[in-house]
């Protein structure tokens, strides 16, 4: 028999909201802005510390800067082993009996390999290039490349390409927006991403939530996803895309499925996902029609048939230890693009145990896959996309040097839209109007403003990438791809360096 628990939760507040009442004008803007109901007005602004998630919305919008948020210093006695998070989760599970759910990327202090890689630079013998004066090419093409090119003369004697190229997508910058479903994020986020992708000559990805009709005008810049739940997947959806992606795995939740709870399936989500209002959207871990590489190949070609062989088909997998062999199979199964998502990748909702403990770092997975495909002589048959916590332009440059054709950004894009990484996406209460479907919250993000912020971010990264290329003495991003000689490791062990194919700093050619 179930034992009734005390109505008082034992979980202490994570944060303390401090209000400087001398400065406070009592305008109540903070009360209106707090979507987690952590601030009330009882004669004066009164915080409910337990509800604060440190999203900063109240502090950002306080005209008097009267609000500060601190970690609750009284919460737990210091203990390096029994961390506050572990104790808090234990209490939560004792109260609910449930799987701890969480959002965004893995917060654990695993070593970040990007930060142990440095990019080499030119000096006297090979001069660097001035990106302010010289053209720098960030353009890249996604899609399967032929083994060799054949040419022929046309009737006028001009040379033309004889080889039939597989469908290609031109990217003006090798940074793509990650798959984030309409459902996980708001419509205005999707719109911001679509507008920005269109303006910047890159791509957004629907995730597995279908494509809202409003975004059809941007379809030339949209990757549509086909995942196990097949939500919103129909012929028009496949037709309205730049590429189709089969989602097998995701870095934040390798080997497990997804679940959009029924209460989030409102009118518009229902229309886009093509399921009744209020029903659970369950995406099982496996596609139940894919249990082998042969089955995957069958779906790849079903999609190619459906789109008349005019669109590249991508396959997205999570980084796992055997990823190189898996990627080789995927390329041989006919995929034009392979996306590898590392264990630091973000998500709207996943069990914390999976996010924090399952999967492997993207840096190692990427290097292993690139090397394996080269060794097998099939690297040209598919483009490689690197995903899973690409935080800054330097990560992009390093990923490309390790073999990626392009990188994917999810969290970085959301942070540029206002996300404070409070990791409460799964609650649907996002105060910044990002990971929510509550109409009063979603309208906090204006898609025109949002898209401009995203464009600014990509413009800045583009300039930074050009600076890096200049410092390396190359003038195109394609010259950097797979150029591991231009990286050096600092503080990495020999095995890690071997997998990365990178020499330690201090070693010459």
């Amino acid at each position: 028999m179930a034992v009734e628990l005390s109505p008082v939760s034992q979980i202490p507040a994570e944060f303390r909201v401090k209000v400087d009442h001398d400065r406070c004008r009592r305008c109540k803007r903070c009360v209106l802005n707090c979507s987690f109901s952590a601030i009330e007005f009882k004669d004066k602004v009164t915080p409910d510390h337990r509800k604060c998630v440190a999203c900063h919305r109240c502090a950002t919008f306080c005209p008097e800067s009267a609000i500060t948020i601190e970690e609750n210093p009284m919460a737990y006695k210091d203990n390096a082993n029994w961390t506050a998070r572990i104790r808090q989760n234990t209490l939560k599970q004792a109260e609910t009996g449930g799987i701890i759910l969480t959002g965004m990327g893995n917060p654990k202090p695993y070593p970040i390999i990007w930060d142990h890689l440095v990019i080499d630079a030119c000096q006297v013998t090979n001069p660097s290039i001035d990106p302010l004066r010289e053209p720098m090419e960030l353009r890249t093409y996604l899609g399967s490349k032929p083994n060799y090119l054949e040419f022929e003369n046309d009737e006028n004697g001009k040379i033309k390409l004889k080889t039939q190229l597989a469908p290609q997508i031109k990217l003006d910058i090798p940074v793509i927006f990650a798959a984030m479903s309409y459902g996980a994020v708001s419509h205005n986020v999707h719109k911001s991403l679509a507008i920005a992708a269109n303006k910047m000559g890159t791509l957004m990805n629907t995730g597995e939530g279908g494509l809202h009709e409003d975004l059809y005008p941007y379809s030339g810049r949209i990757i549509v996803q086909v995942a196990s739940g097949r939500f919103g997947v129909h012929n028009q959806y496949l037709a309205n895309s730049a590429a189709v992606e089969i989602k097998i795995g995701q870095g934040a939740k390798p080997g497990i499925g997804g679940h959009l709870p029924g209460e989030k399936v409102g009118q518009e989500i229902s229309k886009t996902r093509m399921i009744p209002v209020g029903t659970d959207a369950l995406s099982p871990a496996p596609h139940h029609d894919i249990y082998s590489i042969e089955d995957l190949s069958q779906l790849i070609y079903a999609i190619k048939e459906a789109t008349d062989y005019k669109k590249p088909v991508s396959v997205k997998i999570a980084a796992v230890h055997n990823v190189a062999a898996i990627a080789s199979g995927i390329v041989r199964a006919g995929a034009d693009i392979v996306t590898i998502d590392g264990f630091r990748g973000g998500t709207g909702a996943t069990p914390a145990i999976i996010r924090d403990n399952v999967g492997i770092p993207i840096e190692l997975a990427l290097a292993a896959v690139d090397q394996r495909l080269r060794d097998e002589g099939i690297r040209n048959q598919a483009s490689l996309i690197c995903a899973g916590s690409i935080r800054e332009a330097a990560d992009v440059a390093k990923a490309i040097a390790l073999g990626a054709d392009a990188c994917v950004i999810g969290t970085a894009a959301l942070v540029s839209l206002g996300c404070r990484v409070c990791q409460k996406c799964y609650t649907g209460n996002c105060a910044w109007g990002i990971a929510t479907q509550r109409p009063e919250l979603t309208r906090r993000l204006n898609p025109d403003v949002g898209s401009q912020r995203l464009c600014n971010l990509l413009t800045a990264w583009g300039h930074e990438l050009q600076e890096v290329l200049g410092s390396l003495g190359v003038n195109s991003i394609e010259s950097l791809r797979g150029s591991r000689e231009r990286l050096r490791g600092v503080g990495l062990d020999k095995e890690t360096l071997d997998i990365l194919g990178v020499k330690p700093a201090g070693v010459g050619m």
């Binding site: 939560k92 599970q93 109260e95 609910t96 009996g97 449930g98 799987i99 701890i100 759910l101 086909v226 196990s228 739940g229 097949r230 997947v233 129909h234 012929n235 496949l238 679940h259 709870p261 029924g262 229902s270 093509m274 399921i275 009744p276 209020g278 029903t279 659970d280 369950l282 099982p284 139940h288 029609d289 069958q298 779906l299 070609y301 079903a302 048939e305 459906a306 789109t307 008349d308 069990p351 799964y426 609650t427």
Partner: protein, 246 residues
Amino acid sequence: MVMTIDAAGMYYRDLNKQIRIAIEEGETEFVLNNINGQRYIGDAVEKKVKITINGTPGNDLAAFMNGPSIEVFANGQDGIANTMNSGEIVIHGMVGDVIGYGMRGGKLMIKGDVGYRVGIHMKEYKKQIPVIVAGGCAGDFYGEYMAGGIMVLLGIGCSDDKPITGDYLGTGMHGGVIYLRGEVEDHQLGAEVAVLEPDEKDMKLITKHVTEWCEHFGYDLNEVMSKPFIKLKAISSRPYGNLYAY
């Protein structure tokens, strides 16, 4: 006009391309002879064309299909009607595994047995309610994760000492309805399903679909309806609602 294609030895890509081009040019009816394992026939076709298949089509017949009607005078293989949106498929034989995966609309009439994983993740949306009626028996995972639609299994010709479906029947089911002409044992059922007796409304629905099935395959309706049906429905539309700590 009816376009007849002799598909003997034909590569599936050439066959499907020929059909696609003909549909674009206005062709509305096809007869495909000597089909022998060609995949993806009818894949993503949008127009309401009619395709008659003489021979056994390959996997993923009618995937993403939206409108056509297909009649197969032989057995079918795996993956028929994968993520199908609308249309009708009639198969005068038995079929393999993963039939109607994620199917959202249209109708699938099968004369004989169906394999494993039939109707997984079947859905419905507004007026689009997919229907699968099969005459024989089914393998494991029948109607798993079913989120909508109607499945009818008649169990004709199944041996008396064997249940008409395999195990894991309706596991994770959270919508839609399954009608079985026969009994199943408790251990075969997923934890998320309840067995009920069909009411008047259910019987009307069953009769409607079984009538159509009998017309296609030449069975006597009264004889088929003489054996009792059971109804399987999800216990909850939120089977995993309490799994997580928020």
